[in-house]
């Protein structure tokens, strides 16, 4: 593990078995994540983009190891190394009991601010909860920290007695952020934290995340489907398609000079705010995304790729370096 990295994902594969019949035998499997490797550097924000169903949320959930809870049959292979002080821990090897002590280091912000907060608990209790498991602060210290965190995320201290249904979506997401920060984590996995919010609120929440990143020294894995959001916050971007990373590189470069044909198509679909500027060329992909239950052989993108060739069916392209720090999984560009 390189010293600048805080998280390294190696060849991560997540398969959900599809069961059927009287005895629930496995009849097929969904390869939600099919061999993904990347690293998260200390203090950076890595954006993970891709369309719905490409496996980006699954990666986040696999890293913090919560998939097995709701889907006990899931098969997860590969390695996820996390650096904790001077130790390196493979999170996937740990049992649910063993991983518990590292949970405070890596926290998640969820997509839907309406379902991610327990409606029966007050905001104070919600933010306090992680501290119960990972710190030995007493009640008074915890209450103080809750107030401090509430102020940090731009809410008022008095609001800790309120219940989630009394808040708007943006405020709820701030509560979610405060909860994630309550144990002083090093890594935050933000799973589409703004896609359920109004555009005006999105900017606020993203700016808040950026401010807090500096203050708490966070490394963020920012999962989103909206390229313009990701471009704003991320230092590097990984573009995913059907369970694989298609392109990985510095944000600027991916946004302005994408290499992989899928990234090009994805970027050409980003609407421009200025009506006078016309999109140079709008690449419209033909067909639909194949189902991850029945992926095409070879390159997953070849069925829709404008530059597909015969050979694309024969091998799965690996990320190869194209420019400095810039990788793409296509040998023909």
């Amino acid at each position: 593990m390189k010293p600048e990295n805080i998280l390294e994902v190696k060849d991560l594969k997540v398969k959900f078995p599809v069961t059927g019949g009287l005895f629930l035998r496995k009849v097929a499997e969904v390869k939600a994540v099919d061999g993904v490797s990347f690293e998260l550097r200390k203090g950076e924000t890595l954006g993970l983009v891709g369309e719905s169903g490409c496996g980006k949320s699954t990666i986040g959930k696999a890293i913090i190891n919560i998939l097995k809870f709701s889907a006990p049959d899931v098969e997860i292979t590969g390695e996820v190394y996390m650096r904790i002080e001077d130790k390196e821990v493979n999170l996937l090897e740990l049992t649910r009991g063993e991983i518990r002590e590292y949970r405070g280091m890596i926290q998640m912000i969820f997509q839907d601010p309406y379902s991610s907060l327990n409606a029966r608990m007050s905001v104070g209790q919600i933010i306090e909860e992680p501290m119960l498991y990972h710190t030995d602060l007493n009640k008074k210290q915890r209450t103080e920290r809750v107030s401090w965190l509430l102020e940090k995320v731009g809410l008022q201290t008095e609001q800790s007695k309120r219940y989630p249904h009394e808040f708007s979506g943006g405020q709820r997401q701030r509560i979610g952020i405060a909860r994630a920060l309550s144990t002083n984590p090093k890594i935050i996995i933000a799973d589409e934290p703004v896609s359920a919010l109004d555009v005006s609120i999105q900017a606020q929440v993203i700016n808040l995340l950026q401010e807090l990143q500096g203050e708490f020294d966070l490394s963020i894995l920012f999962i989103a489907h909206d390229l313009s959001v990701v471009e704003h916050i991320s230092s590097r971007i990984a573009v995913m398609y059907l369970g694989n990373i298609a392109e990985l590189g510095p944000g600027e470069r991916i946004y302005h000079k994408p290499i992989h044909p899928y990234s090009k198509a994805l970027l050409s679909a980003v609407p421009l705010p200025n009506p006078k500027l016309k999109n140079k060329e709008r690449i419209i992909l033909k067909g639909d995304v194949p189902t991850p239950m029945n992926k095409p052989s070879g390159c997953g993108f070849r069925t829709r790729c404008p530059i597909a060739r015969k050979e694309c069916a024969d091998f799965i392209p690996e990320l190869e370096i194209k420019e400095e720090q810039h990788y793409a999984a296509c040998p023909f560009v």
Binding site: K61, S70, R103, G104, M108, F110, S116, S122, P130, Y163
Partner: protein, 353 residues
């Protein structure tokens, strides 16, 4: 200043919000108040309805027969066994001395044979003294109805509590652990649910004399299945919600996740169904009593009165009074249930106001 006030506004938990909504649904709320008051009163019923005097003053001493047995002789009454306080009251009045008897408002007990005081053959029709007449053994029907209310309602509340405890535990286990436990557990429940419960009770009752505990036990044994499916479904759904994932990702243990997170969010069907389950259990007890397989005589019970009414169909009060009481009780509880359901309904439209 104004803003500050706004912030200090009392925050409402989801439960308080629903309670407020429930209170606004007048029909259900008033039914709830009436049933609750009557039920609470029914625990101290001997003060209002009963054969035992509350206070007796005899030869300068005070006696409290309601708490302590007094023989007739010790109060100067020429009778064997326990004193008859109504006769004693008359006796004292006739004697005109310093002695007096303070009776309950309605001075007749539920299991007391009044044949010695009433003329003619039972059942006696309703009169100003016996508001609902007497039954075929000369017992006061109104007193029996009142005592039967407490027994019926207590019985069904206890059965509902036990049944829901089992149902929630089983349903929660199936829903939370899922997989094989769920599949096999559900099949076992399905097998169990095919046993017809009324017949089982009738068979048991014809072998041994049923009592309160046995009936509670048997009804609980067959009453927990319905709610299990709902709780299981709720657990399945809540388990997949993000706040549970969040709890897992912050390192909560299963016990915490179940009791702190999933269970409080899964109780909506439980609370909504509870009044209807109580109604159903009252009904079960009345049916069993009616068929003669319920609580042993001489326990005052509505079903037993109805059965008498069926045998003596020309004495209308024997069938009308228990029917009307049951109708009103079940109606009120149904109103409560309806209002609770409405109060827990996330959709805000309401016809019940």
């Amino acid at each position: 200043m104004k803003e500050k006030k706004e912030n200090n506004k009392v925050s409402t938990s989801l439960f308080r919000k629903r309670w407020k909504k429930f209170k606004s649904l007048k029909r259900g709320y008033y039914s709830f108040l009436i049933i609750l008051t009557l039920y609470l009163i029914s625990f101290i019923l001997p003060i209002f309805i009963g054969r035992d005097a509350l206070i007796v003053k005899y030869n300068g001493e005070f006696y409290f027969p309601i708490f302590k047995y007094q023989s007739a002789e010790s109060l100067g009454q020429n009778l064997q066994g326990e004193a008859n306080y109504r006769l004693l009251k008359k006796q004292y009045q006739e004697e005109g001395g310093d002695n007096w008897v303070f009776m309950p408002i309605y001075p007749y007990g539920p299991n007391e044979n009044l044949l010695s005081e009433l003329e003619g053959n039972p059942p006696h029709p309703p009169s100003s003294e016996h508001w609902a007449g007497t039954d075929d053994r000369g017992r006061d029907v109104f007193a029996r109805l009142a005592y039967g209310f407490n027994i019926g309602l207590s019985f069904s509340i206890i059965v509902t509590l036990f049944a829901y405890f089992i149902g929630i535990s089983v349903g929660g286990t199936l829903g939370f652990y899922g997989g094989k436990i769920d599949i096999f557990g559900l099949r076992l429940i399905e097998m169990w649910s095919t046993i017809p419960f009324l017949y089982t009770i009738i068979i048991i009752s014809s072998i041994i004399q049923p009592n309160f505990i046995l009936l509670t036990f048997v009804l609980t044994l067959f009453g927990w299945i319905g709610i299990t499916y709902y709780v299981r479904g709720e657990f399945y759904r809540e388990k997949a919600r993000d706040y549970v994932s969040a709890a897992v990702s912050m390192g909560a243990k299963n016990k915490t996740i179940i009791f702190r997170h999933i269970l409080p969010n899964s109780l909506t069907p439980v609370i909504s169904f509870a009044p209807f389950a109580i109604v159903a259990n009252i009904f079960s007890l009345v049916s069993l009593d009616f068929l003669g397989f319920g609580l042993p005589p001489p326990t005052p019970s509505w079903g037993q009165l109805m059965q008498q009414g069926l045998v003596n169909i020309e004495y209308w009060w024997l069938i009308a009074t228990p029917l009307v009481s049951m109708f009103l009780t079940l109606l009120s509880i149904t109103f409560i249930g309806e209002a609770i359901r409405e109060a827990f309904d996330p959709k805000v439209y309401s016809r019940l106001r």
